[in-house]
């Protein structure tokens, strides 16, 4: 006696406390969709499978639970690939379920067959092709375990149709036993002592944090460390929100479009304390010129990250939260007055700036006002491009998990579906998707999903009639020869949103910003606010390619001069 594989799958998902599955059905997953009739797990029908993974990612990043999505074999599965790769690069825990053709047909190039485990080897933490229904409960349980522990990541389970329809007479094991998988959580005591000593002795220390601090829930420990030893904190794009940006020790973001003071501080530092980061090239600029005077402490749960891109003096493999607790027990209060004074001087001399706010509609100003009106408390997602950088620079994030964007992969189309996942996981929260006209058009059909589920998401769309960030690159690197970056066929976004039944506004001048944003934020419906901006708006500072962080181009060097 048994139940079907699909029923066993659903039961195990219930045991794992899954609340929501994002997906689109198809022939190969008919038995699974049929089994969903018998559960309280909510299925959210998206319009494009890519949006299902991105939504699952937004859900995971704002709830701390793995996100789950489901797609049929073949095209359903391949449509997931971008989202899976994004989650892999950003270490987001996901369990991805795909249908597969019946086992007897695997390898025959059957209708809608694709080797999705083969395709996703390089972009999943692990994946499974299940050949026996009896294995399903164990595999699902393992998948959740792998996805959420150690360095989190996406795990894919490929389920042939006959396996879902077949009989399963086994339940999930009590415990997961994987002899090849034993993440290290506690750091090595000697290295912890070394790190604590270096931190205590450093004269010009900088802490530099990434997404690992958020996924390990270490924000409190981070704040204590920074305050105890008076160390300024810079974050990566993924680390935004881990340290309140209104804190006097916050340097904001560092790297390619980081603040000048963060980049100068890193360049002058004698000790760099890297927490849950992977030294992405968008952060380091030219590696040889990155933190040239600093000893480096690198703490990460993934041993393969340590020493991968930069040489490290004190490597610590472990969970950021646990290790910081051990370090906190060893350090004593300290003031770095001279260093902090120097940093404040940079902060005052080279602030984030963009010129006039009053004459034309400036995207930076819109984001600043958005931050102010929402008290920096909203969950903000961003797509990829200039708008993403303005959001990262000017919103002034205060909470972990409040800024969601595709960091490692940089996938346009991420923001809006991620907002859908975030809103479903946090019904009470204010969720805002900051997007560009290019990115939004990649997944704007999801307005239907948002409407269907009554999600009052705010879409803040910066319309510069083109692919702004690439246009910026062509401006700086291709002598203003603009190729394939200008849109002439854009829809009327306000009318488009209205077609879906959403509320919509258009802002064209600075005076409209505050009143329209206020109205939009108080609206309890899906709302789109289009800001029509100048296409010659650039993101500053900017570190030119193959340069050190202190060689950035700043607003004052270019536009500031012209305006004088």
């Amino acid at each position: 006696m048994g139940i079907t594989g699909a029923q066993a799958l659903v039961r195990t998902l219930e045991e794992e406390q899954v609340e929501i599955i994002f997906g689109i059905p198809g022939g190969a997953v008919l038995p699974i969709y049929d089994a969903l009739n018998e559960t309280n797990i909510r299925h959210v029908l998206v319009r494009f499978e890519q949006a299902a993974v991105h939504a699952a990612s937004g859900y995971a990043r704002t709830t701390g639970k793995p996100g789950v999505c489901l797609a049929t074999s073949g095209p359903g599965a391949t449509n997931l690939v971008t989202g899976i790769a994004g989650a892999y690069m950003d270490s987001i825990p996901l369990v991805v379920l795909t249908g597969q053709v019946p086992t007897s047909m695997i390898g025959t190039d059957a209708f809608q067959e694709v080797d999705i485990t083969g395709i996703t080897f390089p972009i999943t933490k692990h994946n499974y092709l299940v050949k026996d229904p009896n294995d399903l409960p164990r595999v699902v349980k393992e998948a959740f375990h792998i996805a959420r522990t150690g360095r989190p990541g996406p795990v894919l389970i490929d389920i042939p149709k006959d396996v879902a329809a077949g009989i399963c007479s086994r339940g999930a094991p009590e415990r997961v036993e994987l002899r090849g998988y034993k993440p290290t959580y506690k750091g090595h005591p000697n290295q912890i002592r070394n790190a604590a000593r270096l931190m205590q002795e450093a004269e010009r220390p900088v802490i530099f944090v990434g997404g690992g601090v958020i996924s390990s829930g270490a924000t409190e420990e981070l704040r204590k460390l920074a305050e105890t030893l008076s160390i300024p904190v810079a974050t990566t794009l993924m680390g935004i929100g881990s340290f309140p940006e209104n804190h006097p020790l916050s340097l904001g973001m560092l790297g390619l479009h980081g603040t000048a003071y963060a980049n100068y501080a890193v360049t002058e530092a004698d000790l760099l304390i890297a927490l849950g980061v992977r030294f992405d090239d968008r952060v380091t600029g030219l590696v040889e010129k990155f933190a040239p005077r600093a000893k480096i402490i690198h703490l990460d749960i993934d041993p393969a990250e340590i020493g991968k891109n930069v040489e490290v003096n004190v490597p610590i493999v472990g969970d950021v939260k646990l290790v910081l607790q051990s370090i906190l027990a060893l350090v004593e209060e300290k003031k770095n007055e001279e260093w902090l004074a120097k940093i404040n001087e940079w902060r005052e001399r080279y602030p984030l700036e963009y010129g006039n706010k009053k004459e034309t509609l400036r995207p930076q100003y819109v984001i600043e006002e958005l931050g102010r009106l929402t008290d920096h408390q909203a969950i903000v997602t961003a797509d990829v491009g200039q708008h993403q950088m303005w959001a990262a620079q000017f919103y002034k994030f205060a909470r972990p998990g409040s800024f969601l964007t595709s960091g490692g992969l940089g996938a346009m189309g991420y923001g809006f579906p991620a907002a859908i996942g975030a809103q479903l996981g946090n019904p009470e929260a204010l969720v805002i998707a900051v997007t560009g006209d290019g990115s939004f058009q990649m997944n704007m059909a999801e307005m239907a999903t948002a409407m269907e589920n009554n999600l009052p998401i705010k879409i803040l769309l910066f319309n510069n009639s083109g692919l702004g960030m690439v246009r910026q690159l062509q401006h700086f690197y291709c002598e203003r020869r603009y190729t394939a970056v200008e849109f002439t066929g854009n829809p009327d976004f306000v009318r488009l949103a209205e077609c879906y039944g959403a509320a919509a506004y258009r802002i064209q001048s600075p005076e409209e910003v505050v009143p329209v944003l206020k109205e939009a934020l108080n609206n309890d419906r899906l709302t789109l606010v289009e800001c029509v901006i100048d296409r010659d708006e650039w993101v500053y500072p900017m570190v030119p390619s193959a340069k050190g962080l202190d060689e950035m181009i700043q607003y004052r060097d270019v536009e500031g001069k012209q305006n004088e």
């Binding site: 390089p122 092709l129 090849g180 998988y181 993934d302 041993p303 393969a304 020493g307 991968k308």
Partner: protein
């Protein structure tokens, strides 16, 4: 420098593809890779020879270790180990040169495993140096076909 890695993995379909894929997508070159079951049928052992500086080898090892199916990995390059390769070679051998070839086979303690009208198949086992030497000695006769298994290796002494 060449490194020899001994890798214990779950004996499951797809594991070899995962490992080979990891090398190719990170731009590392596998010199040789030999796989087979161990005393425990659930576990297979791979002997992988890779060329690279210490940094490359460290990354290879760490990335391999991240695979859920990899149970244990050791770089045995610096250890005392026994290693063997198997060679099968089909060489031109008309009757006038057979005697000479058989002498070579004797010297290397190899074996003739098949006799054709004008060819011989020779089997040899040994470390890489010996296999290279026998190959070189037979080359003048004209090698028609040749296969080598890649290296398998085992550390001397009691199992750690």
């Amino acid at each position: 420098m060449k490194h020899t890695l001994a890798v214990l993995v779950e004996n499951r379909p797809g594991v070899l593809a995962r490992i080979a894929g990891l090398f190719s997508r990170r731009g590392y070159n596998i010199e040789s890779l030999a796989v087979g079951q161990t005393e425990n049928p659930d576990i297979a052992r791979m002997t992988i020879v890779v060329d690279g500086d210490d940094r490359v080898i460290e990354q290879v090892s760490k990335q391999l270790h991240k695979l859920i199916d990899v149970i244990k990995l050791s770089d045995i390059t610096e250890e005392e180990y026994v290693d063997r390769e198997l060679l099968l070679v089909k060489v031109n051998a008309d009757p006038s040169v057979r005697g000479e070839i058989m002498q070579i086979v004797d010297i290397f303690r190899a074996r003739i495993v098949d006799i054709g009208r004008n060819t011989l198949i020779i089997e040899a086992t040994g470390d890489e140096g010996k296999i290279n030497a026998i190959e070189a000695s037979l080359r003048p006769f004209g090698i028609k076909e040749l296969v080598r298994t890649g290296k398998i290796a085992m550390v001397r002494g009691p199992k750690q």
